[in-house]
Symmetry: C2
Subunit: 204 residues, 2 copies
């Protein structure tokens, strides 16, 4: 459902080909909801059969073809229905925290690698999201600008603010993860020392 909503959200900006949509999923929206092309193309076809979008077949050059999708009124309604309906939360499934719970079974080196990897991963995400916020604030986000161009003047600030709000939440999460992993590194160093002390006490 969310992939579909993300696609509809983009198509509300204007008609786009599967390729363009896939691009957006490796940039803007994709930073919130990732999807590979192999999922996007079939989903668009499915949405077309359900009348949420219509495909306009175009040719490029002599033999090139592209399918430009337009959101229909049913698609617009489906998007707004999703926006106004309660969000379904999935149960927690967090591999990093699962592993963290059993870190005593890992080698000291693996513990450091894991925590450092966690920090690196979330620093990467944080950078993406902070850059996105900066781009939005500088009014340099291509997609948002296209959206603003078809938005009534009095709704523009609201549109910008919510977009920033979304990315700020993600950034906050990233910071929290980095913070946690850093505390983990300290903890693992402390526990390593404790273990050494304990074993030396035993061998005294």
């Amino acid at each position: 459902m969310s992939l579909r909503s993300a696609l509809l959200a983009l198509l509300r900006i204007g008609p786009m080909s599967g390729y363009e949509l896939a691009k957006q999923f490796s940039q803007s929206v994709g930073h919130v909801w990732h999807a590979p092309d192999s999922q996007i193309y079939p989903e668009l076809r499915k949405m077309a059969t359900e009348g949420l979008v219509v495909a306009e077949e175009q040719t490029r050059g002599t033999a090139g073809r592209r399918r430009v999708y337009h959101a229909t009124e049913a698609g617009e309604r489906a998007f707004l229905d999703w926006m106004n309906s309660p969000l379904k939360y999935q149960r927690t499934r967090d591999a990093a925290h699962l592993r963290a719970a059993y870190l005593e079974s890992a080698d000291q080196e693996a513990i450091c690698d894991f925590l450092r990897g966690h920090i690196e991963h979330w620093q990467g995400e944080l950078k993406v999201w902070e850059d996105e916020i900066a781009t939005i604030e500088a009014l340099e986000s291509p997609m948002l600008n296209r959206r603003l161009a078809v938005t009534a003047e009095e709704d523009r600030e609201v549109t910008i603010e919510y977009k920033k709000f979304a990315y700020e939440g993600l950034a906050a999460r990233a910071r929290s993860e980095i913070d946690w992993a850093q505390r983990g590194l300290k903890l693992s160093r402390r526990l390593e020392r404790t273990a050494e002390t304990a074993s030396s006490r035993h061998t005294d």
Copy 2:
């Protein structure tokens, strides 16, 4: 892979039936990695065919049966391999933040419902994790106690500390989500006022 690792982590405490494992997934481990019975039973069978666990068939009463699974050495090795190997991160797929990015398209009431729902959801999670931390600290976690019973004395503190560490990370995340949604509520009230001001200015 993570479901498998979670199952193996539990089986390292001692032999358990699919039912018992499913119970744990609606309690302790399940607070980190959720899995329904319909996923656990088939996974255990698959792990049995791969030699990671062996099933010991037992009878209960006259006709009751149960399959008690033991982790094999290969299972133990698989778990440790997972613990010592780099963690794979999936790309972001966050429905709440996806929706937040397009909140200008939602009704004011839906915005509040969404943000309040988000707060409620994460407050629920937070309570679970904080309770879990308290239970661990009080040495009242049944599963952890069973694990500690088969753990060398000098490794007990480490085991406890990492378990707490894991839940603290989850709790931090929950707090960050609650915080974000609360800022969202304030933002939405501010933007609502702005919109009214703007429209009243127009209708003056």
